[in-house]
Structure formats: structure tokens, C-alpha cells
């Protein structure tokens, strides 16, 4: 059954643009509501995670490429920024962009061995790539600090504004700007012809190839596109924290970000962003529970995944459809993979 373009589940360009502007306007008001540095810090972390998670959604959700080296791209961003600013004395803003470009180059490099592979095999190679990057960073301890990490990395600057004593005001808006740029890029990308081609490859590889879509080119474009803002987010993270540690390659961060992608609902971009917010704030609220925090979080993830396989985005969509009285013929959960 063919669905005409501009049908249920897919908002028009204009609707989406208005929604996005409104959404980011609300986010931009938050620092005036939360004036303490701690709340702002939590929000900055939400934005960084949201960039990483939503870009992962591009390769994992839309592309169907099980890229488990996504956090390595983030890590490359972190260390590239650290090395470029601290050792080579590059301007922090230039280093930020350069880190994004380096992560993109790394993504293209890792695509080469996975071009012939499928599914679970891709997990291994990309995971192996992440381990390789980590080992290289660990072994070059003269530059990277090895297991000690790097400290006193130069932060970003904004004209004469004092970045340190403003209660994280400036960093909040820089992080928000990064998320906005990344989100606009991702949404335009997935709505474009290339985005449609990527989804076609995921849903029916043989047919898509038969229709003239190049698997090699699309897979490379997908991974490269998902890498740039991820690397930038890594660089921003390094600039914000002013240090770099090998922990960014660890399993625990990867698990958290991955659960953001899946909890939010794959192939939506927005889902990953919403889930970053929910999970990060939830984790902060439960700080008092100490050791029970990861246990409760894990339970929450399992329950949501079992109850709502399309994640929070599916939940919201279902709720919206119900309240707006726009219940469609087919329930959202019953439809195959979303292609909005």
C-alpha cells in the first residue's frame, strides 16, 4: 500500500520548522528560570548527550547500521580538541570545528571494513574500532596523559565575556546552539532524498540496490554525517569540562547514550533528544538513592522497552493522537518502522 507524500505521521516542512523554533525558544528561556549554576550544568549535559544520541539515531535508527563505535567518535572529538588547543595552541573555536572534521574522517575510515558486513558483525568491528582508538590514546600517554587523562584544557571564549563567573550562562547558550544546529542538520538530512535512500536501504536492501541506490556511498554518507556533530559535541564537552578522560570510551557511557536512543524511539531524532532530557534529569533527581540509581534506571529502561517498543516518541505520538482525536486507522505501535 502506498502512502502519498505529506501523509499522517509526517508533518509538513512549515509545521516542523515552526515547532522546532518554538521548542528551542522555550529551551532558550530556561536559564532565566533556573538561575543556579547546578541546574544549568544539568541542562548543558542534557544538550551534549542529546547531540550525541540524536546523531547516533541517524546511523542506528535511520541507517540501520549497528555502529557501536559512535562513542569513539565522541571520544575522538574530546581528545582532538584537547590536543589541538593544549599542545598545538590552536584557537578553541577552530579546534572545535577541526574536531568535528576529524571525527568525520574517522567515521569514513571505519566504514571501509564494514561495507561488506551486516548486523551483528558490524557491532563487533565498530566496537573493535572503539577499542583500538582507546588503546592508541592510552599508549600515547606522553601527549594524552594515558589513564590519567588531560587536564587544564583551554575553554571556549565569547568576546570579552567572562565564561567562568556567569553561572554557566554562556555555556548554556553555546550548548543549546550546538544542539539546534545539529538538530536542524539531522532533520533536513533525514527528510532529504539521501535520507529517504538510507531508509530504503535499511528496510529493503535488495530492492533499494536494485533501484540504483549505492550501499557503499549511502553507508559512508550516513556514518560521516552522524560523526560531525558528535565530534563537535565531544570537543565542546572537553572545552566545558576543561579535561579529557578515557572514561568516554567506557561501556557505561555507551549504555546510557544507547538507552537514550532506544528509549526515545529510533528514527525520530526528536525521540533521542527527549529521552536525553528525561534520563539525565531523572538520574539527577535520584542522586539521593546512591547505589540504587543504576538499578532503578535499568528497570525503567526494561519496563519502557517492553511496554512501548517505539519508545517515548511512540508514547507521545500515541498520546497526541488520542488527545487530539486524530486516531488514525492504524495504531502507531502497529505500524512498521517509522519513516517520518
Amino acid at each position: 500500500m502506498t502512502r502519498p507524500i505529506g501523509t499522517p505521521g509526517r508533518a509538513s516542512w512549515k509545521e516542523e520548522a515552526v515547532g522546532m523554533v518554538l521548542g528551542f525558544a522555550v529551551l532558550a528561556l530556561l536559564p532565566f528560570l533556573f538561575t543556579d549554576a547546578y541546574s544549568r550544568h544539568v541542562l548543558i549535559m542534557v544538550f551534549i548527550y542529546a547531540v550525541v544520541a540524536s546523531n547516533w539515531d541517524l546511523s542506528l535508527g535511520y541507517g540501520g547500521v549497528f555502529n557501536f563505535g559512535h562513542l569513539a567518535l565522541f571520544g575522538i572529538g574530546v581528545y582532538a580538541y584537547g590536543l589541538l588547543t593544549k599542545l598545538m595552541g590552536l584557537d578553541p573555536w577552530l579546534a572545535l570545528v577541526a574536531s568535528g572534521i576529524l571525527a568525520t574522517a574517522a567515521a569514513i575510515l571505519v566504514t571501509i571494513p564494514i561495507l561488506r558486513l551486516k548486523g551483528i558483525y558490524i557491532i563487533l568491528v565498530t566496537f573493535g574500532f572503539a577499542q583500538l582508538v582507546m588503546q592508541v590514546i592510552l599508549s600515547q600517554s606522553d601527549y594524552t596523559g594515558g589513564t590519567q587523562g588531560m587536564v587544564r584544557i583551554p575553554g571556549l571564549y565569547w568576546f570579552d565575556h567572562n565564561m567562568v563567573r556567569d553561572g554557566k550562562f554562556a555555556y548554556f547558550f553555546l550548548a543549546l546552539g550546538l544542539l539546534a544546529a545539529s538538530t536542524v542538520f539531522l532533520r533536513v538530512f533525514v527528510r532529504s532524498r539521501i535520507g529517504a535512500g538510507i531508509v530504503a536501504l535499511r528496510d529493503n536492501e535488495e530492492y533499494a540496490i536494485a533501484r540504483g541506490i549505492s550501499l557503499v556511498r549511502q553507508r559512508m554518507i550516513t556514518l560521516a554525517a552522524s560523526a560531525f556533530f558528535t565530534g563537535m559535541a565531544g570537543a565542546f564537552y572537553a572545552a566545558y569540562q576543561r579535561n579529557a578522560s578515557i572514561d568516554v570510551f567506557g561501556m557505561s557511557l555507551a549504555t546510557i547514550i544507547l538507552s537514550m536512543v532506544l528509549l526515545g524511539g529510533t528514527s525520530t531524532i526528536y525521540g533521542a533528544i527527549i529521552a536525553s532530557f528525561v534520563l539525565t534529569v531523572f538520574a539527577e533527581l535520584m542522586a539521593d538513592f546512591g547505589a540504587w540509581r543504576p538499578i532503578i534506571t535499568a528497570l525503567l529502561i526494561i519496563v519502557v522497552m517492553l511496554a512501548y517498543p517505539t519508545g517515548l516518541a511512540g508514547l507521545i505520538r500515541a498520546g497526541w493522537a488520542a488527545t487530539a482525536g486524530r486516531l488514525r486507522r492504524t495504531a502507531p505501535a502497529a505500524r512498521p518502522a517509522e519513516t517520518t
Partner: protein, 291 residues
């Protein structure tokens, strides 16, 4: 002589542990078609259960089967709670990755809460040390090197010679046809997880008698088992077993010549190269070629 003996024993010992882990992982993978990221914590939990049983004064010959059976039950339970409800969904592979990862985090933190972070150790299977070819090895290690092939052979016999084992393999090969001939596929899914968990528990108990245990002790063996399974291919049970020993020897040799530090990187580099040449694994019969 010293070098080769050291590599030989190190390889056999590590290979045994990897084989025990990888076989369970491959079993779940072939039967259900999902990758179980809780496999590492199965190993850890098995070791902790055994430690607990030893702590309340049970002798090792009782503890071993008790812990293994308990883990089989836990494996079955986990399958029933976080894997079975997802079967039939289009994105099951991805969703199972996250549910088993979450379950792993749950169990890991639960163990940390219950037994604390202090390192523990289980008594070895056999006391004492000996010297073979100029290299000192513990009797425990020798016991593992001898016992593992026996267990793997028993598993092979089970899968190839018994009705239940054949049913399990039938499900792995063709689920629809298995349903048509009246096999209880759901129960067989549970069985695959139970066997995998039992083998992982055994590996955990073996490792716990040799090194100190910690709640994260399963992470590295899980990673190695993943490598082994992909390296060996999954078309038969012998593929991962061969690959386990091969990787055990590779690791022992690399540790000896290049040092502990570079071994993981070297291993992954070799693996990525292997996959580029043979995407279906070293010991697999050639499968459908990929696009």
C-alpha cells in the same frame, strides 16, 4: 622451551574459558537470533553464587552443580522476562541489545549492593602447583584444561545425539518449520538461555578459583566471547570452540611477545582484517554472500 610452554598453557587455559563462554553465546545467537549482553554477568553471578554457597559451608562438589543449576534457572527467567516478550517485533535485535544491557547493569549493581565491592575468591578445584616444561602451573588450571573439553564434548553429544538437542538445532535452523512439526519453540528458547547461563556460570566458577572476583569480572570475557563467536562463525558448534582456543593461543603469544598492553588492540586489528576477508567467520561454511 620456557616460552613455548608458557604460551601453550596460557593459551589452553584462556581458550578453555573463552570456549565455555562463546558456546553459550553462540547457542543463544543461533536459536533466538539475538545477542545476549547479559552473558558476562551470568558468568559473574555464577561465581558469586558459588562463593556464597562455599561461604555457608557447603563442600565444592555440592556447590558446583548447585550454582550451575541455579544459574540455568536465572538464565531461563531472564529470557522469559526481557527477551521472550520482544520476539516477533521488527527491531528485536536492537531492542534485545538494550534490554539485556539494562538487565546486565541491574544484576551487576545488585551484586555490588548485595555482596559489596571487596574482591572474593572461590577455592580452586584442585589444590597445589606443579611444574611442567619449566613453567609453574596450578593444579586448578590443569583441571580446567582437562575438564572443559569433556564438557564441550558432552554438549556436542547432546546437540547431535539427543532428541532435545536436535530439536534445539532445528529451531536454530528453521523456526517456522520447527513450529509446524510441533516443537515447543518458546520452551526451547528458554532451554538455550538456560544452557548458556549454566556454561557461563561454570566459566565464572573456574575463573573465580584462579583470580579475584569482582562485579565487573564478566565484561572482558564477554567481549572475548563476542570476538570468538564472530571469528569462528556460528554455523556449527565446533566453529566457536576452535576459534576460542585459537584466540587463547594468539593472546598468550601476543602477551608474551608484545606485552599485555597491546594485545587487545592487536586482537581487534586481526579481527577486523579477518572480517574484511571472510565476513562469515573463519570456520564457517561459506554462507550467502553479502551485497
Amino acid at each position: 622451551m620456557g616460552a613455548s610452554a608458557e604460551i601453550l598453557f596460557g593459551g589452553l587455559f584462556q581458550g578453555s574459558l573463552y570456549a565455555m563462554m562463546a558456546v553459550g553465546l553462540a547457542l543463544v545467537w543461533t536459536t533466538i537470533g539475538v545477542f545476549n549482553f547479559s552473558h558476562g554477568v551470568f558468568m559473574m553471578l555464577g561465581a558469586y553464587l558459588a562463593w556464597q554457597f562455599v561461604d555457608i559451608g557447603l563442600p565444592l562438589p555440592v556447590v558446583l552443580p548447585l550454582a550451575v543449576v541455579a544459574m540455568a534457572a536465572i538464565g531461563w527467567l531472564l529470557q522469559a522476562s526481557v527477551v521472550r516478550p520482544l520476539i516477533g517485533r521488527p527491531n528485536i535485535v536492537l531492542v534485545v541489545v538494550i534490554t539485556t544491557l539494562a538487565a546486565a547493569s541491574l544484576i551487576e549493581n545488585g551484586v555490588l549492593e548485595l555482596w559489596g565491592p571487596r574482591s572474593k575468591q572461590i577455592p580452586p578445584l584442585l589444590e597445589g602447583n606443579t611444574t611442567i616444561g619449566g613453567v609453574g602451573v596450578s593444579m586448578h588450571q590443569i583441571a580446567i584444561i582437562v575438564i572443559t573439553p569433556v564438557i564441550l564434548a558432552a554438549l556436542w553429544l547432546f546437540l547431535n545425539r539427543t532428541r532435545l538437542g536436535l530439536a534445539l538445532r532445528a529451531v536454530a535452523q528453521n523456526e517456522d518449520a520447527s513450529l509446524l512439526v510441533g516443537l515447543n519453540v518458546t520452551a526451547l528458547y528458554g532451554l538455550a538461555f538456560a544452557i548458556a547461563a549454566a556454561l557461563a556460570a561454570l566459566a565464572g566458577i573456574f575463573l573465580g578459583g584462579y583470580r579475584f572476583m569482582s562485579p565487573v569480572m564478566g565484561a572482558d570475557p564477554l567481549l572475548k566471547a563476542l570476538i570468538v563467536v564472530v571469528f569462528g562463525g556460528i554455523s556449527s558448534i565446533s566453529g566457536p570452540i576452535f576459534a576460542a582456543y585459537l584466540i587463547g593461543f594468539f593472546e598468550a603469544a601476543s602477551n608474551y611477545y608484545f606485552g599485555l598492553y597491546w594485545t587487545p588492540a592487536l586482537l581487534f586489528a586481526v579481527l577486523i582484517l579477518t572480517l574484511m576477508v571472510r565476513p562469515e567467520g573463519m570456520f564457517a561454511r561459506s554462507s550467502r554472500s553479502l551485497a
